[in-house]
Every structure is written in structure tokens, then in C-alpha cells.
């Protein structure tokens, strides 16, 4: 946990999620291989190695790892929404085109639809959010993740904004 926090301070572009380092049950050798990015050998059909967050104009983020994209909403979005009290998420197995509406997050005051950042199939949903929707506010880049999906069109990831571009985008909204 502490190590993860240190890494987060070092670089804003580092993915705050380093699940393999923190899960005790994983194969140690696989963990070491993935940690050393750049020398990694992958057997996945996905050629995208990036574990940095990419953002959409609708304020979703996606983090790609091992051919799977984890999706959530940005800090800017959860702050604007307020306390999340309800999460409407899709079914596992549902196929999504980029920009398809896949669910909604609701605060007391408002409902906000969620739009898929990529084309792919839903492989997991964050079931913790049913009992604890506030995780989206507390930890939007980690524990508050929404869905995981396959990545049918890796080139779509390249079309999304990186952290710097997204920060600029938010600034332009606030003007």
C-alpha cells in the first residue's frame, strides 16, 4: 500500500492502479515481468502496452492492461456529480460500440449517463458499487472502477486524451 502511494507521488502519469504488486495471491514471476514495462513480452493480441489513463470528452477514463480496459469516471466528473447514490451498470457479456450508453450514475440531484470509451465486450462490473456507490467519489481511479471490457479496436485507445490533454480540456470547460 505504502509503496503504491510513493509511486503515485513520483509521476502523475503513473497508473495509480498496480493491482499485481498488491495482490498477494499472484504468481510472483508474472508480477515482476509486468512491473518492468518495456521489456515485457506479451502473448495478448492487444498491441497496446500503455497502463496510463486515457480520457474521453465525456469524462470517462480507461486503463488498458493485458488486453482488458478498466473504465471509470474522472475526478472532475465525480466532483461535479456529487455524492453517488446509485450505479446503473450493464450486464457482463454486453457488447458496446464506442460512445454507446452503458449505464448511469446518480447523485441525489442528478443522473448522468455513462458512455463507452471503446468498442468491446463487458467482462466484469464492479459489484461493490451496489452496496457502496460512494466508492466512485472516494476512489474514482481505483476502487471506484465501473466496468472492464475487451478491446476490439486498439486504435481507439490512441484517439483518446492522455492526462495532460484531459487536464487542458477541463480547463477549457471552466473558462
Amino acid at each position: 500500500m505504502a509503496m503504491r502511494a510513493t509511486l503515485r507521488c513520483l509521476s502523475a502519469n503513473f497508473s495509480p492502479r498496480l493491482p499485481l504488486l498488491s495482490s498477494a495471491g499472484r504468481d510472483n514471476r508474472a508480477a515482476r515481468l509486468r512491473w518492468v514495462s518495456g521489456t515485457r513480452r506479451t502473448f495478448s493480441s492487444c498491441s497496446v502496452l500503455s497502463t496510463a489513463l486515457k480520457f474521453t470528452e465525456k469524462h470517462e477514463w480507461v486503463q488498458v492492461e493485458g488486453g482488458i480496459g478498466t473504465v471509470g469516471i474522472s475526478s472532475y466528473a465525480q466532483d461535479a456529480l456529487g455524492d453517488v447514490v446509485y450505479c446503473g451498470l450493464p450486464e457482463v457479456g454486453q457488447r458496446l460500440e464506442q460512445m454507446d450508453e452503458f449505464g448511469a450514475l446518480e447523485s441525489v440531484k442528478a443522473a448522468s449517463e455513462l458512455y463507452s470509451p471503446l468498442t468491446g465486450e463487458v467482462t466484469a462490473i464492479n459489484t461493490q458499487l451496489a452496496e457502496n456507490p460512494g466508492l466512485v467519489n472516494k476512489d474514482c481511479y481505483a476502487e471506484g472502477w465501473l466496468i472492464k471490457m475487451t478491446i476490439e479496436k486498439p486504435e481507439e485507445v490512441d484517439g483518446l486524451m492522455d492526462q495532460a490533454a484531459y487536464d487542458k480540456f477541463i480547463k477549457s470547460l471552466e473558462e
Partner: protein, 385 residues
């Protein structure tokens, strides 16, 4: 995600009206939004839910200075006001007020308001900011008719600030600033007093939250002074429009423009109780010929409360019968911070209006179960003495 926040957007123009507390709100980190042409705080530093719960458990102050405050003067003021609203004003006790409705010739509701029969020679009326233009024109037209008939009435539109102080701690907090015992001021009664050294404040024991509370009408020159004295008590926090809306919905109170409007009659809106006994007999208010027969004959649709078993329901959500037929529409709804359930108000075909009736609501193209429920959703705590 699409941030489709209906209330939260930044002020773009300087044309918005400001209450005497505008600078005060900004200084206290109020997030200002446009509400009915006024710049008002939707919330402060606390989250919506924290602010909502603080009101129910302690005490919150809301700046409601945007609302229209009117004094009706003159010998014929009661007759004047009764010509516009459905209430028995003549029968009100001295310094007693009541919720009432301006109605139109079609039996619809022009606005809801509180009218108080003061012992100071005037009626004190508070009505909605969103209807201020409409209401003042409506009253002025009737005024001209009365004057033309030689009757004695005058209107005075106030520019006082109005502070709503709501919650169980209100009593403790306010008593510290009053000479007289607040125990004497029961729900829906009004008085004038010096509050924390500020003279000529009209205090009415009423509100829009369901909690024990007061609304204080105070000179705009001393509004900041008064709110600072109240805020000095650690029980008190500032609250904005967001909490105001979720509190009133839990209390089953209508929002004009959503739950009642010119197309809803008082009977459809389940507000028959606002129509005075004598007024029903005399049928001497606008739209009486349409409204009074509805009391016996019933109406095609009725305003009801409902609780969704699934996602939150909001305004315009279709209401369906168990076999999927459209039977109505939600007019307001939100997740209830107190109950942690999704509550709403809407109109349904009368045959489905009984409490406990199982219905459905359509959220994002899926039918979800719901139940017609009594209101208020959260028990009220009005101080009856």
C-alpha cells in the same frame, strides 16, 4: 458520462438578480447558480447529503430572499385576497397564516403561497420567485378593479431579505436572540420581534423542509448581520438549493412548476385541504365552478407519492400499470438521503392512486417496480405547541 446537471451551471451573465447575501454566500464558498433569474447558492463546502442530514439533525439556514414578499393593506384587504385565493382568510386567527393557491378561471393553479393575517393592519404574503412577475401582475389587475369599485386596498412589494432557519436546533439557536418565549409561536403563526439586536424582523413559524423552523423577514441592510449572529452558533450551517429540494420532497411538499402548475387543479393535486369550507360553499374564487364539483365527483388523475424499487426516478419518468400501459408521469423525484430509498411524486390515473398500489416506472427503457406511497415520506416535526 454526460453531465446533465439541471441546476449546477456557472453564472455566465451579469443579468442575474442578487439577494442582499450574495457577497456573503461567495465569501462562504457558495457554489452560485441561476435559479429563476437569481444568483443563489446550490450548496457550500459540504456535500448535498451532509447538508440535507444536518438540517434534519441540527439546523440549517437558507437564503430565500428571492421569494416575493407582499403586504396587502387597507380595510378591504381580506376581501381582496379572497378574490384571488381559495383560503378562508376571514376565519384565520390574528397572526395565523395558511398555505393557499392563486387559481385561474380554468381551475388551474397560478402559484402556491403563504398568506398570514397579521395584527398590524396588513396581510403578509410570500409566493414563489419563479412566479413573481406573473403573481404581481395578477394582484395589480385585481387591485385596479377593487380601486375602481371604490374599495380600500393597497399593495406593497417588499425588498426585505428572507432567511429560512430550519431544523430541530432552530428553537435553541433562535431563542438566544429573542426576548419573548419562542414556545408561544406555534406552526403557521407569525410575529414581529427584535432578533439578536436587529429590530422589526417578521418571524413566521413555517418552512419548506418538514422540520420545525422559521422564516425571518429582515431589512436588507441588516441581513448579513443577522445571518452572522445565527451562524455563530455551532449548531448552524448554511444550506443551499440542492438540500432545499431534497428536504421538501421527503416532506411531500409540492414544487410549483414541477408538481403543480396552471394545468393541475387543487383536487387533482391532492390539495383540497387548502380550499376553505366557506369558499367551497360560496364558490367565490377563480375556477370555483370547475374545482368545487371535482371535490365530490373525483378527477381522472391524482398526485401521489411513490417509491421505486430500482433506480432513482426523476421528472418526466413515465408511470406504467402492472401490465405496461402508461398511466401517468413523475413530476419530481430523487434518492431520499434519510430513507436511502428512491422517492417521487407524480400524477396517475385515479384508479391507481390508492396507497400500496403496485405500479411500474420506466427508467432508461426498462420497466421497474414501484409502489404508491403516502406522503410525507419522512415524518414531519412541525411545532404545534
Amino acid at each position: 458520462m454526460q453531465i446533465t446537471l439541471s441546476v449546477l451551471h456557472l453564472i455566465a451573465t451579469v443579468a442575474l438578480k442578487k439577494t442582499p447575501l450574495f457577497d456573503f454566500h461567495k465569501a462562504h464558498d457558495g457554489k452560485m447558480v441561476n435559479f429563476a433569474g437569481w444568483s443563489l447558492p446550490v450548496q457550500y463546502k459540504d456535500s448535498h447529503i451532509v447538508s440535507h442530514m444536518h438540517t434534519r439533525e441540527h439546523c440549517s439556514i437558507f437564503d430565500v430572499s428571492h421569494m416575493l414578499q407582499t403586504k396587502v393593506h387597507g380595510k378591504d384587504r381580506v376581501k381582496f385576497m379572497e378574490s384571488l385565493v381559495v383560503a378562508d382568510i376571514a376565519e384565520l386567527k390574528s397572526n395565523q397564516g395558511t398555505l393557499s393557491l392563486f387559481t385561474n378561471e380554468k381551475g388551474g393553479i397560478i402559484d402556491d403561497l403563504i398568506v398570514t393575517k397579521t395584527d398590524q393592519g396588513y396581510l403578509y404574503v410570500v409566493s414563489n420567485a419563479g412566479c413573481a412577475e406573473k403573481d404581481s401582475v395578477h394582484m395589480k389587475v385585481r387591485l385596479a378593479e377593487f380601486k375602481a369599485a371604490g374599495l380600500d386596498v393597497d399593495l406593497e412589494f417588499l425588498d426585505e431579505a428572507l432567511l429560512a432557519v430550519q431544523g430541530p436546533s432552530m428553537f435553541r439557536v433562535l431563542q438566544e436572540g429573542l426576548k419573548d418565549n419562542l414556545n408561544k409561536l406555534t406552526f403557521m403563526t407569525s410575529t414581529v420581534a427584535t432578533v439578536f439586536g436587529v429590530p422589526d424582523c417578521r418571524i413566521t413559524r413555517c418552512g419548506y423542509t418538514g422540520e420545525d423552523g422559521v422564516e425571518i423577514s429582515v431589512s436588507r441592510l441588516r441581513a448579513v448581520e443577522l445571518i452572522e449572529k445565527l451562524l455563530a452558533n455551532s449548531e448552524v450551517k448554511l444550506a443551499g438549493l440542492a438540500a432545499r429540494d431534497s428536504l421538501r420532497l421527503e416532506a411531500g411538499l409540492c414544487l410549483y412548476g414541477n408538481d403543480i402548475d396552471e394545468t393541475t387543479t387543487p383536487v387533482e393535486a391532492t390539495l383540497v385541504w387548502t380550499i376553505g369550507k366557506r369558499r367551497r360553499k360560496d364558490k367565490d374564487f377563480p375556477g370555483a365552478e370547475i374545482i368545487v364539483p371535482q371535490i365530490k365527483a373525483k378527477t381522472f388523475r391524482k398526485r401521489v407519492g411513490l417509491v421505486s424499487t430500482g433506480p432513482p426516478v426523476r421528472q418526466h419518468t413515465p408511470i406504467l400499470s402492472p401490465d405496461g400501459k402508461v398511466i401517468g408521469e413523475v413530476t419530481s423525484g430523487c434518492p431520499s438521503p434519510c430513507l436511502k430509498k428512491n422517492v417521487a411524486m407524480g400524477y396517475v390515473d385515479s384508479e391507481f392512486a390508492k396507497n400500496g398500489t403496485e405500479i411500474q416506472v420506466e427508467v432508461r427503457k426498462k420497466a421497474v417496480g414501484a409502489v404508491v406511497s403516502r406522503m410525507p415520506f419522512v415524518p414531519t416535526n412541525y411545532y404545534m405547541g
